[in-house]
Structures are given as structure tokens and as C-alpha cells.
């Protein structure tokens, strides 16, 4: 047990019922002492009974590890719901559509399995979004592709065939 403070509790607690008074410097240590000293606690509570609420108990009988796990799952669910709800922000919606369009374009290109020669294409005369040329021997420019669609955490899988190549872009945050 720590030694009882020399100042009287009457003086230490006087500020608690005087809105103009400041806290005495010794108050913090004195209040910490209350927990260990029933005599001082009795004396202090007799002057200011609201001090008893300093002893409000923690929530008993709760396993906070499992509470935290429940929280994680709940928050994860709320985030998922927020993603699939109609977007209020047009900008966000536009970004999602851009990502979806980018993915679709990449998948189509990859699926051809042959190079795209833009200079020979009739469509090339029409101004439009730049489409990356695919080399003759198709190699999936995976890193660049992922960067281009703005999904740096995505994983890209390729099921390659002679005439067909299937590309899967897996990104848990993408809900198109």
C-alpha cells in the first residue's frame, strides 16, 4: 500500500464542485492511491460520492479475442454490403466501369491468341482508346495489365491453349 497523501481529501476534492477551480497537481497520484487504500476511499467518497464511479467495472465474462473476431467478420460483411449497394458517387461508379471495361478488353485480347495489328485494322482509323499491341507469340503482359486496370493486388491466371487463351483475374475487392 502506498503512503496516504498528506493533503486532506477535502482540499484535494474541493475543485470538483467549483467550476472555476483548477485541479490540484497532486490529484492524479492521490486518486491512484484510492484504489489501494480503503480508508482513503471511504474518506474521499464521503466528500464526493461520485468518485465511486471511478470503480465502474470492466465488462465481465467476455472473451475479447472472440469479440474481436466477431467484429472483424461483421465489419467485413458491412464493407461487402457497401460495395454491392448502388454507389452514390458517380465517380466511383465510373471507376468501376472503367476497371470492368479494361478487364473485358484485356480478356478479349488475350483470348485471340494472335497479335493485333492496329495499323491494318479498319477500326484504327477511328479515334478511340489506345489498345496495346499484342506480340506475335502471345505472352501475357500480366504486371502491366494489372497495373493498367488499377488492381495492383490482383492475381492473374492463364490457361493457355493453341488457339485459345483464358485469363482469369482474381481480386477479392473487385465486385463487377
Amino acid at each position: 500500500m502506498t503512503a496516504c497523501p498528506e493533503l486532506s481529501w477535502q482540499l484535494l476534492l474541493a475543485h470538483r464542485f467549483d467550476v472555476r477551480a483548477g485541479e490540484p497537481a497532486e490529484l492524479g497520484a492521490a486518486l491512484a492511491h484510492l484504489d489501494a487504500c480503503p480508508a482513503c476511499r471511504r474518506e474521499a467518497c464521503a466528500i464526493d460520492p461520485t468518485l465511486v464511479f471511478k470503480r465502474l467495472p470492466p465488462i465481465a465474462d467476455l472473451d475479447f479475442d472472440s469479440e474481436a473476431e466477431r467484429m472483424r467478420q461483421a465489419v467485413s460483411g458491412m464493407r461487402l454490403v457497401a460495395r454491392i449497394e448502388p454507389r452514390r458517387s458517380g465517380r466511383a461508379r465510373a471507376g468501376r466501369w472503367a476497371a470492368a471495361a479494361g478487364l473485358a478488353a484485356m480478356a478479349l485480347l488475350a483470348g485471340r491468341g494472335e497479335p493485333v495489328r492496329r495499323e491494318a485494322s479498319a477500326a484504327s482509323a477511328v479515334p478511340g482508346p489506345a489498345v496495346p499491341a499484342v506480340p506475335a507469340r502471345f505472352e501475357l503482359p500480366s504486371s502491366a495489365m494489372v497495373e493498367e486496370v488499377g488492381r495492383p493486388k490482383a492475381r492473374v491466371y492463364q490457361l493457355a491453349g493453341d488457339r485459345l487463351s483464358v485469363v482469369m483475374i482474381v481480386d477479392s475487392s473487385l465486385d463487377v
Binding site: V19, A46, I47, V52, F53, F64, R72, M78, V156
Partner: protein
């Protein structure tokens, strides 16, 4: 054959248990879900305790804390690293808890069963003084009396007196000046003391009773 052709190299995972709250929030700002998970692990207990004390109901406190973490995540980009992380998170939780209180009009809830129980406890206690109340009894009395406080008074009292935050931190959480916090605290203590003496005279010392009569 299906082959993995691209995967982001696994970033070096910081030891989140050793990261400060600020580091967690900054990592969340960069999109780290692991940091969010770590923050939830760290803050669930204090936030549940605070909101349970504000609301008086554990289930409602759980709901509020869930929404708090969700809002922390959704607003992570707005976190300014000059702010105190604790203050920012407590402010979100406190505002949500107050909204919750308002929506259910907790003041209309009857506290009579608690009071009745505590009167019985008091009757068989030989030496009656507040310092000898058991923790469960303290919680019951606080639940009853705090419904008389305004939301701001209750919050200021809990954050300062029970959670032990500084007046400055409480002022930041409540978005007000420190002098306003002192006013809230003063009024909360005054009201709680008056109600304690009125409802539980058997516990109040003669000194406090005399003060209340004078008041």
C-alpha cells in the same frame, strides 16, 4: 494447365502487434486490411467498454463498435496524421453512441428494477457507505443515474472520470473547448451527487447530505 502468371510479391508484413495506432491507421490509409484487423483486435475491448457504459446495453454497444470500425475504414483517407488516433476513433464511437442513445430515447427507460434491487442490497449491508459498494452495484447505480445526464455530460464524465482521458482529449472528442468540458463535468458531478443522495440516502455521508441541503 492453369498457371499463376502474376501475383503481387507479398509485401513485407509488419509486425502489427508492435505497430502504433498511428502506424496502423496510416497503413489502413494505404489499403492494408491486415492493419484494420489488427486495429480491431486492439480497440474492441476499450471501445466496447466505453460504448457499453454510454448505452448501458452490451448488444447495442456491439452494434455501435462494429459501425465504428466500419466508419474508421471508410474514412481512413480522411485521417490526418497530426491527429491523435485514439481521439479520432473515440470521437467516431462517441458520436455513434450518442446518435444511438437519441434514437432509442433511453431516458424513457424505467430504471425502477435496478433501484429496487439496490435498495435490497443496501438493506442487508451493515455498514453503508459508497466506498463499500461492489462493482456490479456501482454499474447498476450508474446506469440508473446517468440517464439523467445529457449526452454530452455523460460522455464527458465517462471519458474523463472513468476512462481517465485528459480534458484536452475529451474536448477534441466532443469537438468543444476545454472550458465546456469542465462545465459538462461540473454539471454531471453535481447532478450525480444530488441524485445519489436523494435516491440512496442510506449510503451518503452526513457531510454530503448537509452540502446537498445547503445547495
Amino acid at each position: 494447365m492453369l498457371k499463376l502468371v502474376h501475383s503481387n510479391p507479398t509485401p513485407e508484413t509488419p509486425k502489427w502487434s508492435e505497430a502504433t495506432d498511428r502506424e496502423l491507421l496510416l497503413a489502413m490509409r494505404e489499403g492494408s486490411e491486415a492493419a484494420l484487423a489488427a486495429l480491431i483486435g486492439r480497440k474492441t475491448k476499450p471501445l466496447l467498454q466505453l460504448t457499453q457504459r454510454i448505452l448501458g446495453e452490451l448488444e447495442e454497444a456491439r452494434d455501435v463498435v462494429q459501425v465504428t470500425f466500419f466508419k474508421v475504414w471508410e474514412n481512413r483517407a480522411k485521417f490526418d496524421d497530426r491527429w491523435s488516433p485514439n481521439t479520432w476513433i473515440y470521437r467516431i464511437a462517441s458520436n455513434l453512441a450518442i446518435d444511438h442513445l437519441r434514437s432509442r430515447k433511453s431516458r424513457e427507460k424505467s430504471a425502477e428494477p435496478v433501484r429496487h434491487h439496490l435498495r435490497q442490497v443496501g438493506e442487508w449491508r451493515s455498514q453503508k457507505d459508497f466506498s463499500r459498494l461492489q462493482q456490479g452495484e456501482v454499474a447498476g447505480i450508474f446506469r440508473e443515474l446517468s440517464s439523467e445526464l445529457s449526452e454530452k455530460q455523460r460522455l464527458a464524465f465517462l471519458l474523463r472520470e472513468v476512462e481517465g482521458l485528459s480534458s484536452q482529449e475529451v474536448a477534441e472528442i466532443l469537438s468543444c473547448r476545454e472550458s465546456t468540458v469542465r462545465n459538462h463535468l461540473f454539471n454531471a458531478r453535481k447532478l450525480l451527487r444530488r441524485e445519489l443522495v436523494k435516491r440512496y440516502p442510506e449510503y451518503a455521508s452526513r457531510r454530503v447530505q448537509a452540502l446537498e441541503v445547503e445547495a
